[in-house]
Amino acid sequence: MYQTITPENRAKYAATIDSMHRNRYDVCVRQWGWDIPGSKPGYEKDQLDTEHTVYVTVTDPDFGKVVASTRLNPTIEPHMMSELYADYCNLQPFPQRDDTWECSRYVIDRTLYHDPVKEYKIRCNLGIGMTRFCLDNGIRQLSWLTHEKFYKLTQQVWKTEPLGLPVREADSDWAWVPALSQIDEATNADQRQRLANAESVVAELLRAKSIRKKSRAA
């Protein structure tokens, strides 16, 4: 269900890439309210979408477009941490190594889904696609600047530790945490397991809600 778009196969995925940039605009600019310098209206692309960038995308045939994607950049090339946020890494230096890539623009358009199982499967697919690309290409670590809410999730999915203390930018109360996650086969197996059991995982998570509704009905 996911596509891995590398510099080598990029020509084949021109339409998917176009759809991805449009989806990124919908989520990052319209929904999250980010101000991204240089972005064209309706199309989010910046200086870190480079010739080295790899994208993992998830297309939903029901919508006929990309609904989730992420961007991976090698840390031996210019990347977000080296170019923009080096000073955020005040607990340990950000790694710049062949086996460490940077993940950014981890985007899922959650407004499209009323069915929590379907949304959960989209999320699982994006995570699996990203982890799989890393494992197949000798990438053992991913660095990212994570939103506080997402940082909690990264800690629970990947073995993750912070590179710096939480930072709050002047115009936002939300904290950002630079982080480094280990990528391994065990994580990929867990992700696949969660996707295979998506119905029961989500049902378990929804349990309290249904108990509450039943008690009201009674």
Partner: protein
Amino acid sequence: MILNNSAHVLGAIRGIQEAEKPDEVMRIFTPYVERYGFAHIHLGQLVNPANIAKKDILSISTWPGELMSQRAEKYDLLHDPVALGALRSKRPFRWQKAMEWATRRGQRVIDQTRDFGIRDGYVFPVHSIDSVSGAVSLGGDQLDLSRTELAEVELVSLAAYARLETLLGPFPYQKIEDLTAREAEVIQFAAAGKTNRDIATILSIQPDTVNKTILRAALKLGTLNRAHTVATAIAKNMIFA
């Protein structure tokens, strides 16, 4: 520049992440926060105790048992200005800040905690993509933390919370669905005391449509009636107070 205290912070986080049992997490977390002057830990998910049993949520406390029993008996969480602030705030804040929005009952909740010798503290809100919000509330006496120290405690608190949630969970998923623009608009007018007929006139729609919109919003928010829906929408920052 790497902070002097970085090894200490990372050591605590790595230890917490490797802990296999909740008490191992607490054996690392407790002495860590003690170094910053915190003697009492209370952490957990912030849900309505009238709706969900405590056994179904993450809840760990080193507060005196008697205080906890008293709080549970009277559903004090619903009035606790620190807890209510943590639901809304994205930043850590000092307990005394919560007195700004405390009701009279809320002030009594704070006073009751002080009666047990827990006089000062900070709360570190924990927000998630999947789960209900929670908080790590740390109590002490005469606390004086720098901004960096506060961030150090915040980061280790987030690690402890995430690890405990993983070890003790899964806990109930309670995604609060977003209201549509129309639902928010209708609830906003209901919050201003307008009747369905008033709202229908203002928005040029049928009163029946207003009613259905409110019911749909109530279903999303899991609320019981109009007042409950308005109050919940305000508490979740979905409409203006």
